[in-house]
């Protein structure tokens, strides 16, 4: 009995050590690509998931082996997961989310031979090449950390276009956008762009911009039930609102749910939600997209091609990295006049004559007090 359990334990230990030693070898050709998620899960229908899809697409485009993911379940996991890929001699490490920014900079500084792609990050360094504690960003990130690129988007541009659509299809002249939290710049960027886009169509239009949570917490991005409830409450108060734009990740999927339940128009965010969330497809008119997967995939291909460019890649409509999704079943709603407004706005933004919002030095929107 006792000897039985001792033998069992011994066997297990031997087996584990043996397999640990054996599995350490066998190099595979091509780039090894690893992805570290933000706190949450891989299937968040948001940054984590589309970065992951981008990493997979990028890997297959360059003929590398399938990438590997490491999910961070708590804040402290992010650094550990990055380090784990470093230890395993991965060539490209994608880190997701602004919360991973600091850890990515640290890892990039310590491992110059590894290429880092920081999704929704903008490396802010001081002159000595460490993360700038005062956020002045005086250091030239591209020169100081030539192996790190942070990808950001001008979310206000697709937001602006979504605003044009919303104002055009609204019968009541009252539309709304619900964001997860104002504490994450991407969210107000979308929403402020949305507001100005709508006003550009009809200056008298009423636009409700509401944020669900003050902090980028679960309520903001990972609580669909809470999102539905928030939206229903908003719709109960403003009964004439007939277009609802969600900028709240999974919480926002609940917002779209509420739009469907109320039989009004919904507008998706980040990806083509008509395709990604089929449950709410019937009321999703269009989505304000940033081409997250494509952009991650592009960066990976640049690594392979040797055209990798460090610093912050602020992607915009000029390179078609943001924009509107197809209208799918809702195409009939879009009149030629509306389409023209959209096309003109795209052209103006590309030409630089149209700012989608009151832009700051970093290409984001200044949040009005």
């Amino acid at each position: 009995m006792r000897s039985r359990s001792i033998a069992l334990v011994g066997l297990a230990v031997v087996a584990i050590i043996a397999s640990a030693c054996s599995s350490a070898a066998t190099p595979v050709p091509g780039l090894k690509i690893g992805l570290v998620t933000d706190v949450g899960t891989l299937n968040d229908k948001n940054f984590n998931q589309y970065s992951w899809e981008g990493a997979q697409a990028g890997a297959s485009a360059i003929g590398a082996q399938a990438p590997q993911s490491a999910v961070s379940s708590v804040s402290a996991d992010i650094a550990k997961n990055i380090q784990s890929f470093v230890d395993q001699k991965y060539d490209v490490i994608v880190t997701v989310g602004f919360a991973a920014g600091s850890d990515t900079i640290k890892a990039a500084k310590a491992n110059k031979g590894i290429k880092f792609i920081g999704v929704d990050q903008s490396p802010c360094l001081d002159a000595s090449g460490v993360e700038d504690p005062t956020f002045g960003c005086k250091g030239d990130a591209a020169a100081l950390l030539p192996n790190l690129v942070g990808i950001q988007w001008k979310e206000q541009q697709p937001g602006y276009l979504a605003g044009i659509v919303a104002a055009s299809i609204s019968k009541s002249g009252h539309i709304a956008a619900i964001g997860g939290t104002a504490a994450v710049p991407a969210v107000p960027n979308y929403m402020l762009g949305y507001a100005s886009g709508a006003k550009s169509v009809k200056s008298s239009i009423k636009v409700e911009l509401q944020y669900i949570s003050p902090a980028p917490d679960k309520a903001a991005f990972a609580d669909p039930a809470g999102g539905t409830a928030f939206a229903k409450q908003l719709l109960a108060k403003f009964t004439d609102v007939d277009v609802l734009f969600q900028v709240a990740g999974l919480t926002g999927n609940g917002v779209l749910q509420a739009a469907c339940d109320a039989k009004i128009y919904g507008i998706g965010v980040d990806v083509d939600q008509f395709l990604s969330t089929p449950d709410t497809a019937k009321c999703t008119v269009v989505s304000a997209e940033k081409k997250l997967s494509k952009n991650v995939s592009d960066q990976i291909q640049k690594v392979k091609a040797g055209t990798f460019k460090a610093g912050t890649a602020k992607l915009d409509i000029g390179s078609n990295d943001v924009g509107l999704s197809p209208f799918h079943d809702s195409a009939s709603l879009i009149t030629p006049a509306t389409q023209k407004l959209i096309d003109d706005a795209v052209a103006a933004m590309k030409a630089g004559t149209l700012k989608a919002c009151d832009e700051n030095a970093f290409g984001g929107c200044n949040i009005p007090k």
């Binding site: 584990i16 397999s19 379940s73 804040s75 470093v86």
Partner: protein
């Protein structure tokens, strides 16, 4: 009576037989889960998956200096908060508030660290750690006070305070503590208050000086519990509050003391995590240390020595998790699952006894009898 006649070696064996059995069974169950779900992991039925998973965990937590450093760093907060929970058990209290006390310690040390970012490291570190300890203590004091004077059961109040704590942090970090200029809501850098690494093997695996605290705290709590009269009082209150009153002890004071000291330990853990690992506090700081610590305390049977070892074990699981994901592709939640199953077998020790034919001494924590006892007894006032 029987226990007493055994040799120390036999006693030690009887002490670890059940925890060891529970862990082993949990690993077996975990292996079965992985086996069944292996088509979803690797795309085909993969009988070697459990082995590769455990191998990766072992490699990532034990088989190199780096791995060992990671294990100890991950174990440090688990041991500290585990001690907080264990101390509660000794006093007959179920402190589920380790999470909130940890977070309060974290945010307070982040605030102090940011305020003292340009002081000399000694001043900055000392005061920042102190701030964390005090904040944790205050957050443990509240349920202690409520329990002592109103009978509000600490299980419920500490759960509630955990959630209140999340909101407090959300308020602080998005409001008064928010770093100016940062693109997302986070506290400023602690800079000089950062705990320096004393062992840097140059590979990104740092052992900061915070982990040395364990070497002091574990013996100190052990001394407190078993050598000091206060510890005797705490254990008496835990085992029999009426007898404690009869013996001239002050149960209310001891309840408050135990939860406050527990809060200090959890707050210290929070401070160490912020000052030693993260360097700042984000608004959505995510941790699971409170529940991990319950497992640690139960696995260690609420004794400081036991908590030390069980903290190392869980720290190893956490440290091995990244490599498990990278090499085996098994989701990190497998660790949570394993932990829950360990706890299950620890509680359902009849199964362990049956499978391994263990005839070890009674494994139930004596202290725990008082924990839920007061739940329904009206006020539960000590």
């Amino acid at each position: 009576m029987r226990v007493d006649l055994r040799t120390p070696l036999a006693r030690a064996r009887s002490l670890i037989a059940l925890p060891a059995g529970a862990i082993l069974l949990a690993f077996i169950v975990g292996a079965v889960v992985m086996l069944v779900s292996s088509p979803l992991v690797t795309g085909h039925f993969d009988p070697s998956l459990p082995l590769r998973t455990y191998a990766a965990i072992v490699e990532g937590s034990l088989l190199s200096v780096n791995a060992l450093v990671d294990t100890v760093v991950a174990a440090t907060p688990l041991i500290l908060v585990g001690l907080a929970v264990g101390l509660g058990f000794k006093a007959g209290l179920f402190n589920i508030g380790g999470q909130g006390q940890f977070l309060m310690g974290a945010v307070a040390s982040a605030a102090a660290g940011a305020a003292l970012a340009h002081e000399s490291p000694i001043v900055a570190i000392t005061l920042s750690v102190l701030a964390g300890v005090l904040a944790g203590a205050a957050y443990g004091f509240i349920p202690g006070l409520l329990k002592a004077y109103t009978g509000a059961h600490e299980v419920v109040t500490t759960i509630m305070l955990n959630y209140v704590g999340i909101q407090v942090i959300s308020y602080l970090i998005t409001g008064p503590l928010r770093a100016q200029g940062a693109s997302f809501a986070r506290s400023p850098d602690v800079q000089n208050a950062e705990l320096p690494a004393f062992l840097n093997v140059g590979t990104g695996h740092e052992a900061h000086i915070g982990i040395l605290v364990i070497l002091v705290v574990v013996p100190a709590i052990s001394w407190l519990l078993y050598r000091s009269t206060t510890g005797f009082e705490i254990r008496t209150v835990g085992a029999n509050p009426d007898a404690a009153r009869y013996a001239g002890m002050q149960p209310r004071r001891l309840v408050i003391l135990s939860l406050t000291v527990g809060g200090m330990l959890a707050g210290l853990a929070g401070a160490i995590e912020i000052l030693g690992v993260s360097g700042y506090m984000p608004a959505a700081y995510a941790t699971n240390v409170g529940f991990d610590a319950i497992t640690v305390a139960l696995l260690g049977r609420a004794t400081p020595g036991g908590i030390f070892f069980s903290g190392l074990l869980l720290g190893a699981l956490r440290a091995g998790a990244p490599l498990m994901q990278v090499k085996a592709g098994v989701p990190v939640q497998m660790i949570d699952l394993l932990q829950g199953i360990i706890l299950f077998f620890l509680t359902a020790d009849v199964i362990v006894r049956f499978v391994f034919r263990v005839r070890a001494g009674h494994a139930k924590l004596d202290e725990l009898q008082t924990v839920t006892r007061s739940y329904g007894s009206g006020t539960g006032k000590p």
